[in-house]
């Protein structure tokens, strides 16, 4: 078989001591769609960052089109026809699509920017690759699926022949994913080579020709997609059989532990991002909120947990009116919060595990028996929680920053769950977390629920919301557009239609989702 790209013996150690790649061999044939799979933290993204010149390896060689290539920076990669579409949106929101696509390669007329040529170049490119976009629309106004296309166009504009897509479907609805795949197949038919990073095995099966599996920084194997089952691939990824299905216990919900009444939020930009949301979460149930990111979920969660003040409406948590109160008051009412972005809100990275575990109770009587903090009590609590929540570390005095994503999330979960909350607000609780830790966090979440806590679960991962929730709601454009009293009776496709705003239920105002 022909080889377009060959990476041999790639080694990468990050400055914090994490070994991301250990002697990884990776090769891609011209004109194929090659899936690179593995759990979070397996080293896929690192390997691709090395290919794109964003990281320098400690060892190994790269051969591209038969010649050795030293990729010192993304400029070198781009000059050689390697393009990368990052997981996070590396676009300028306030600029138009055309401006984003030509950014850095602006057509000029004299000294000024040639807007017309930029638009026509973008249109031409979009037509050639069947990635229809409106070049004059601002990036901030277009949906996520469209942004994904813009990023691909941007890479193609720079002459990319080998395209790396880092989890492109993570934020897409099923329908948008289908559309993206059609475009990728078209690219392939036009001779482009695609490396597709994912951990959604169904998509890997659907789109790729070959699969490379990585685990814990090592290459585990390469196989033709056609001959491997999802189960085979997942076993290679995790190293054991995985329970892909969670058994959620049946529930007999109790009293409401959260009542949200007509909550609205107007952003600084004047845009109303939460438009009169009402619902209830009862003790002993999981209410899932599905939705594409950026439809007001973040603002809603921040309002419920005290990080943001609503413009209107009421929030009653565990019987207490906490509308507009700060985080301390919300916590005292009995609310635990697993935040969306753990490194910003969930932990202090430079603090030790212990220090992070006591953040919500550092001034309690138990830890301050006399005037000073009792280091003994702190360290006992640390040891206990590290054990109970299976936080993999040499010592509770290790800085949190040194842990893997999954273990950092366990630190957050340990702190929030050990406070015995009556209501748990979990926003993307397993994003960027490996399969083992995900299983563990799901188990703990359901345990707390069975013991009588109410859980509000917000997740962009359809699989997660569908398998954990008793009831489901869908958020679109700042509103709740659908409620399903029994989460088991919904299909992904149907949810997708609501998430895209194609369908909406008629819900009586004020009684939504209750």
């Amino acid at each position: 078989m022909d080889v377009l790209l060959e990476m041999k013996g790639i080694e990468k150690v990050y400055p914090n001591g994490v070994v991301a790649n250990q002697g990884v061999d990776f090769s891609v044939a011209p004109g194929e769609i090659h899936a690179l799979v593995g759990e979070n933290g397996a080293g896929k993204t690192t390997l691709m960052k090395i290919l794109f010149g964003l990281e320098q390896p400690e060892g190994g060689t790269i051969t591209y089109k038969g010649k050795p290539l030293h990729i010192a920076s993304p400029h070198v990669a781009i000059a050689n026809g390697i393009g990368m579409v990052h997981q996070h949106f590396m676009l300028v929101p306030s600029l138009s699509i055309a401006e984003n696509v030509v950014l850095g390669l602006e057509p000029k007329r004299g000294l000024s920017f040639d807007w017309k040529t930029a638009v026509s170049q973008t249109e031409e490119l979009a037509a050639r690759y069947n990635l229809p976009v409106n070049p004059t629309a601002r990036v901030q106004d277009i949906p996520v699926g469209m942004r994904q296309k813009v990023k691909i166009l941007k890479a193609l504009m720079r002459g990319a022949e080998l395209l790396v897509l880092d989890e492109p479907t993570a934020v897409l609805t099923p329908q948008e994913t289908t559309e993206l795949f059609a475009a990728l197949k078209k690219l392939k038919s036009q001779g482009h080579t695609i490396i597709f990073i994912s951990h959604k095995l169904r998509e890997v099966k659907e789109i790729s020709d070959r699969v490379t599996v990585m685990r814990a920084g090592r290459l585990i194997g390469v196989t033709d997609t056609a001959t491997a089952t999802e189960r085979d691939i997942s076993r290679m990824m995790v190293g054991r059989d995985v329970v892909l299905h969670v058994d959620k216990p049946p529930t007999t919900p109790g009293d409401a532990v959260l009542r949200v009444e007509g909550v609205r939020y107007v952003a600084d930009t004047g845009k109303e991002v939460v438009k009169g949301v009402s619902f209830e979460v009862r003790a002993g149930e999981v209410l899932g909120i599905a939705g594409v990111e950026g439809n007001g979920q973040r603002e809603l969660v921040e309002i419920l947990t005290g990080l943001r003040k609503p413009s209107a409406g009421r929030v009653i948590a565990a019987g207490k009116n906490v509308t507009g109160k700060d985080c301390r008051a919300v916590r005292q009412a009995g609310v635990g919060h697993i935040p969306e972005d753990r490194m910003t809100h969930g932990v202090a990275g430079l603090g030790t595990i212990e220090e992070n575990l006591i953040a919500d109770r550092y001034d309690s009587k138990a830890l301050n028996p006399r005037f000073l903090l009792s280091l003994k009590s702190v360290s006992e609590l640390g040891k206990k929680l590290v054990k109970e929540f299976d936080i993999r570390t040499q010592s509770p005095k290790t800085p949190v920053k040194m842990l893997s994503g999954g273990n950092i999330q366990k630190v957050v979960v340990a702190r929030e769950f050990s406070a015995n909350p009556k209501l748990i607000v979990a926003n993307q609780p397993t994003r960027g977390v490996d399969v083992g830790a995900t299983e563990f966090i799901h188990k703990k979440l359901l345990e707390n629920c069975a013991e009588g806590a109410g859980v509000l679960l917000i997740s962009a991962d359809l699989n997660e919301v569908m398998s954990l929730s008793h009831r489901l709601a869908v958020m679109y454009g700042g509103e709740i557009v659908a409620v399903f009293p029994n989460a088991d009776e919904v299909t992904e496709e149907e949810l997708g239609l609501y998430m895209l705003g194609v369908k909406r239920m008629k819900l009586a105002a004020g009684s939504e989702a209750s």
């Binding site: 935040p339 910003t344 202090a348 220090e355 953040a359 550092y362 005037f371």
Partner: protein, 349 residues
Amino acid sequence: MKKEHVFEVVRSLVAILLAMLLGFIVTYLVSKQPGEAFQSFLTGPFTSPRRFGNLIEAAIPLTFTGLAVSMAFQAAQFNIGAEGQFFFGATAATIVGITVPAPGWLHPILALAVGGVAGAFVGWIPGVLKARWGASELVSSLMLNYVFFRVGMYLINYHYRDTTAGAMVSLPLKETSWLTQFLPPTRIHYGIFVAILAVIFTYLFLYRSRWGYALRMTGLNLPFANYSGINTTSVITYSQVISGVVAGIGGAVEMLGIYHRFQWLALPGYGFDGIIVAILARNNPLGIPLAALFLAYLRTGADIMARTTDVSAEMITVIQAVMILLVTAQAFLAGWKHRIVVKEAKQSV
């Protein structure tokens, strides 16, 4: 990960060594007697008890301002107002020393307390401006240094000036307020014990108290502290108030221990030097006295060099600048550090 601490120490030592080397090169270029100059710079502080005393005396105020700055830095507040706090603390202690009649044991305590309160007041202003309105504490604390310098000069010149003296100085402090110099021929005074207490207090406060914990978490990650239920507004304010207390007491100690009369006509610079001390000690209260002694050693040595040879004391600022540059430059020796990390990581795999 012990090796990383070793690395930090080695890195600081290399930075100091390089700075010294550069200092020597500069000396060599400008001096007719470079060898003697550098020798008196390096060994001067140890050539007589009086000179050694000078070193210790100089380290005392630096310890206070170093502690004050490190406290603010730990809360991620770039408060460089220690200069004004120190100065105003000294002014307030002077007034107490001149006007209040009190017995010998109470008088210094009273003067130190009032000095601390004065420093706290100066620290409180940028703190509250930052916490309430988000005003940059860097700008407000820097400007306040000059405001309180003028206020202090006004108080001394118009209300407590000794008109019989030939220079612009205050009336002498009552002897009851003095901190005794107990090791003649040096001027080392009881203030050294106050400094040691301040180190212990700051350490316990930062690492053993709930308030210090809240302060450090606020410094490490403000959104996280907020999310955890820490009242970060109040943390930001009290971090600067307590930092002001420490600096203010430092100013008072200096006045009661060394001068016995207010005689500064410009900002003495201890607050700005406190920033250097805090950086060298990596904001660790237990490292502050060592860093203060080291800086005092450089300063004393430079003074002796200036007095005995043809090289002026300002040469030391070159050394200081290079040292701070290298210590704070993250990338300095980073390649070496990375190799250590890689080696360790590979061994532990």
